[in-house]
Chain length 227, copies 2
């Protein structure tokens, strides 16, 4: 489904070059459940942003569904993202001027889903993260963990083919974190490809494969035998 | 050092009242090391904001250093905060237009610390969180965990009498999280009063006392016998 070959990502600031990713090779098959782990600053978010078409590599080849995508313009990347990809951001990135329900609904508007079906899916996604009772509120009126749960609901409401999750339980207590991980597990069981960055060893074990980053490089790529 | 009696915090939105805190009683002595735990949305950040003089309660009495503070105006609260309090925010709250070093330096400018001493403390604090090599960069150029570490450095650089930390390791891998917790432990050993919100059971155990919140109320207040 997804292939990265020789991927480099360099950020330039004044005269300093930050090599966020170096020589990354990665293959993700349809239906995979992959965890990306590694120390702070090792390139996990950068890698996920490239995989999720939010950012382009500085060098290298990126193939998705048989098609080369690293050279696509912003509009074409956005089209593929809106159609096939769900993304849970490390810093949530909810839109401050929209209510909780409007935030969750936004990806569905890009998919020509009729209004009644949109409302049904928004309510259902918010129920799954126990945030339906706050759907008329603004993000600034929510706690950190509540905002994260709304970000989760937004990513799953569109039933995406591929879900990218950047630390989806970072701000959650263990009970609420388990509920989010169960939801992600269900999506995977129904056929969604899942690629998740996590600092939690315990949650990383739910994935079927773990990729370890260190200093912008892949240092380990292990499949686990799943019970 | 700090006493809360009958503290209430109510947020009003349209016609809905959210009771973020109800009937909270709490005593924190000088030199205490307190963990605040509880589910997402249970009132931890709200409680910490009141304790840290960032917010005022809707009702109840708040005494600090023998002085009643719930009725103080914003300017007087800011004066006490800048002088005595270090605060690590759940969402970091770094200032986007300032460099990493300028962000860490900001509290020191409010304390009439001379320029050479400010620079020394900024460098020392950044060294402790392994972020000295990025001191000329902007927050937007940092990873989530790097931003969090800068927020930690900013809170400790001023050697505050009281440190409030809202999930100081939320975005960190275990090795980097341990380093931050060791730093906080050292401050405590040197006399700083520490009050920390955390979702990590393991890190909560480093505190000498645990306060559990549920639905805006204190449901447990346990001192542990420390080894
Ligand atoms: N400005 C606001 N307006 C309305 N409700 C608010 C506001 N700020 C917080 N709340 C509500 O008050 C309650 C407590 O929020 P708080 O941020 O203290 O929770 P928390 O325990 O820190 O949660 P988390 O673990 O998710 O960070 C939540 O239900 C939250 O939605
Ligand atoms: N816009 C940018 N300009 C310069 N450097 C950047 C930029 N964005 C990211 N970086 C750097 O690239 C490296 C990788 O960042 P990335 O956000 O991918 O790390 P991460 O593994 O997600 O870390 P964390 O666990 O802390 O979230 C870091 O050193 C970071 O500072
Ligand atoms: Mg990251
Ligand atoms: Mg909070």
């Amino acid at each position: 489904l997804i292939t990265l070959s020789g991927i480099e990502k360099v950020f330039l600031t004044d005269e300093l070059e930050t090599h966020a990713l170096s020589d990354v090779h990665l293959v993700i098959e349809r239906g995979d459940y992959v965890a990306i782990e590694g120390p702070s600053g090792s390139g996990k978010t950068t890698l996920l942003s490239i995989l999720g078409l939010l950012d382009a590599p500085s060098r290298g080849r990126h193939v998705m569904g048989g098609r080369e995508v690293q050279g696509l313009d912003a509009r074409e990347r956005a089209r593929i993202r809106n159609r096939d990809i769900g993304f849970i951001f490390q810093t949530f990135n909810l839109i401050g001027d929209l209510t909780v329900a409007e935030n969750v609904e936004l990806p569905l508007r890009y998919r020509d889903v009729p209004a009644a079906e949109r409302r049904r899916r928004v309510d259902s996604a918010l129920e799954r993260v126990q945030m339906a009772h706050r759907k008329g509120h603004m993000p600034s009126q929510l706690s950190g963990g509540q905002q994260q749960r709304v970000a989760v609901a937004r990513a799953v409401a569109g039933d995406p083919a591929i879900l990218f999750a950047d630390e989806p339980t970072g701000a959650l207590d263990s009970k609420t974190g388990d509920a989010v991980m169960d939801l992600i597990g269900e999506l995977h069981a129904r056929g969604t490809t899942v690629c998740m960055v996590t600092h939690s060893r315990e949650y990383a074990r739910r994935a079927h494969r773990a990729i370890h980053l260190f200093d912008g490089r892949v240092v380990e790529d292990v499949a686990r035998s799943v019970a």
